[in-house]
């Protein structure tokens, strides 16, 4: 018998991959079919209520911009903080308990202070509260991933000359990528949960939260229901075209031993 280390020793690998691909296409098709049906229902139903699809989409667009700005700020801050916190055991012992307490502090409790201090800048109030909300899952998943990192990969990067900016680009970023994506999915979801409340509290002129708030205040319950359905549909689409592909991509970056 001849023993081999060649790859064709694993005959089952590629058919399995194809099977997974077919399943993914099937689930995507079913997802968009359901989305189409819900969309058709929304269009028909909206003509019988006082809801404006244009205003919903406009409000959603404004909220999306707010969340995107807050998310980018949160990711940059989280990466910097995680690297600083885990830089040495002494810094970690000092800072980690502080951030652990801070993360349990309810973001909405910041509103009275922020609204008073930044009365002329309601946009900034919303963005600060959103950053404070989104940052925690990203920060703690990155810290977890740094603490569980493979020392041999770090050593390999050093032996092969990865220093300074090259190390950050070719080693630090790819090794943190899976935790940034998983933390981002949670943070992004929490951001949408918060923005509705934040826009209502700040009485923002625009945004999906303020529009739904206005429908609710006017007791237009049918229109409110359609607004919520549209919001869910749009979030589903973002999830499908952005986060799920990113999650699949991030698994490629994960260590296998």
């Amino acid at each position: 018998m001849r023993y081999t280390t060649q790859l064709h020793a694993y005959p089952g690998k590629y058919p399995k991959k194809r099977h997974a691909l077919q399943l993914r296409w099937l689930s995507t098709t079913i997802g968009f079919l359901i989305l189409g049906l819900v969309g058709a229902f929304v269009i028909v139903a909206s003509s019988h209520t006082d809801v404006s699809l244009n205003l919903i989409l406009q409000g959603f667009g404004v909220s999306l911009v707010r969340i995107t700005i807050s998310y980018i700020a949160a990711v940059v801050l989280a990466v910097i903080l995680a690297i600083v916190i885990t830089a040495s055991p002494k810094i970690e012992a000092l800072l980690l308990p502080i951030f652990d307490v801070l993360q349990s502090f309810p973001s909405f409790a910041l509103f009275p202070i922020l609204i008073t201090a930044l009365a002329s800048a309601p946009e900034l109030v919303i963005i600060i509260v959103l950053v404070v909300t989104i940052i925690w899952p990203i920060l703690f998943t990155i810290i977890g991933s740094i603490k569980n990192r493979r020392i041999d990969l770090e050593e390999a990067a050093s032996v092969y000359g990865a220093t300074g900016l090259k190390r950050f680009q070719h080693f630090t970023v790819p090794s943190l990528w899976p935790s940034v994506v998983t933390g981002s999915i949670v943070g992004w979801g929490e951001g949408w949960e918060f923005i509705i409340g934040a826009e209502l509290l700040v009485r923002a002129n625009q945004g999906i939260g303020s529009y739904l708030g206005k429908l609710g205040a006017a007791q237009l319950n049918g229109a409110l229901a359609i607004g919520i359905i549209v919001l869910m549909m749009l979030l589903f689409i973002i999830n499908k075209i952005l986060w799920l592909p990113l999650l699949r991509n991030a698994t490629q970056y994960q260590s296998d031993n």
């Binding site: 023993y3 060649q6 790859l7 050593e155 390999a156 032996v159 220093t163 790819p174 970056y253």
Partner: protein, 246 residues
């Protein structure tokens, strides 16, 4: 002295243990490596072999002693026990990593990838990521990544210990063939006596905790060594007696 590439001189290293007392892992270790020489560092678990290799690689500092490399800026590369290839890079990208960090030209990187892929028999695995590779293939990529730098000094940290016996033997034979062609200086860590006698020109036997040089043995058996020959067994028995006595 002209042939000297590495001189390890009175190296000592301690770590702070859990109860905050210094734990001496290596004590007063000295030996030399000549150009083109294959040196194995052999010793029981916990004798500080890997620590010593990391000191040589410059990953951790020694508490005492000196490491002299000739030339001072000699090109060195390291192969790790679990390959330590980057999960986000495919085989070609992993092989090119060191060259890329050095800022090598695209032409040089492309030619080197071709050469190492052929030498390490990785043609079918060019575009595969580590999670799609078997243990043996991962280690081949790890070795190819090291050889891509065409190093003067190759450091091997128990490169065959996580592989099954058949894969380990095949890879060991390939490494010997490559070394005979390229004649790079090699320092390899192992705890397998037969492996050290099969591969090395010189074996540095370390005592258990803390690791001190027990004896330096020159293996003067001709290459294509027969593992069943008397002279092979004589050296194996001698080394085992050293470790047992220790």
């Amino acid at each position: 002295m002209d042939n000297l590439i590495l001189k390890i001189s009175h190296i000592t290293k301690s770590f702070v243990s859990v109860n905050r007392k210094p734990d001496n892992v290596i004590s007063d270790v000295s030996f030399e490596v000549q150009k083109g020489e294959f040196v194995c560092i052999l010793g029981p678990s916990g004798c500080g072999k890997s620590t010593l290799l990391r000191i040589i690689a410059g990953l951790i500092p020694a508490d005492e002693g000196k490491i002299i490399k000739q030339p001072e800026q000699l090109e060195q590369a390291m192969v790790f026990q679990n390959a330590a290839i980057f999960p986000w890079l495919n085989t070609e990208e992993n092989i090119a990593f060191g060259l890329k960090m050095q800022g090598a030209s695209n032409d040089k990187i492309r030619d080197t990838i071709q050469r190492e892929i052929k030498q390490m028999k990785l043609d079918d695995a060019r575009s595969l990521h580590p999670r799609e590779l078997s243990g043996g293939m991962k280690q081949r990529v790890g070795i190819a990544r090291a050889l891509a730098l065409d190093p003067d000094l190759l450091l091997l940290d128990e490169p065959f210990s996580s592989l099954d016996a058949f894969t380990a033997e095949k890879l060991r034979n390939d490494v010997i063939k490559i070394w005979q062609i390229r004649k790079q200086s090699v320092v390899m860590i192992t705890h397998i006596v037969e492996e050290a006698v099969q591969l090395a020109d010189k074996i540095v036997v370390l005592t258990s905790h803390p690791g001190k040089v027990k004896e330096i043995i020159t293996v003067d058996i001709k290459r294509h060594r027969n593992e069943r020959s008397k002279e092979f067994y004589d050296i194996v028995d001698h080394i085992k007696s050293l470790i047992v006595v220790d």
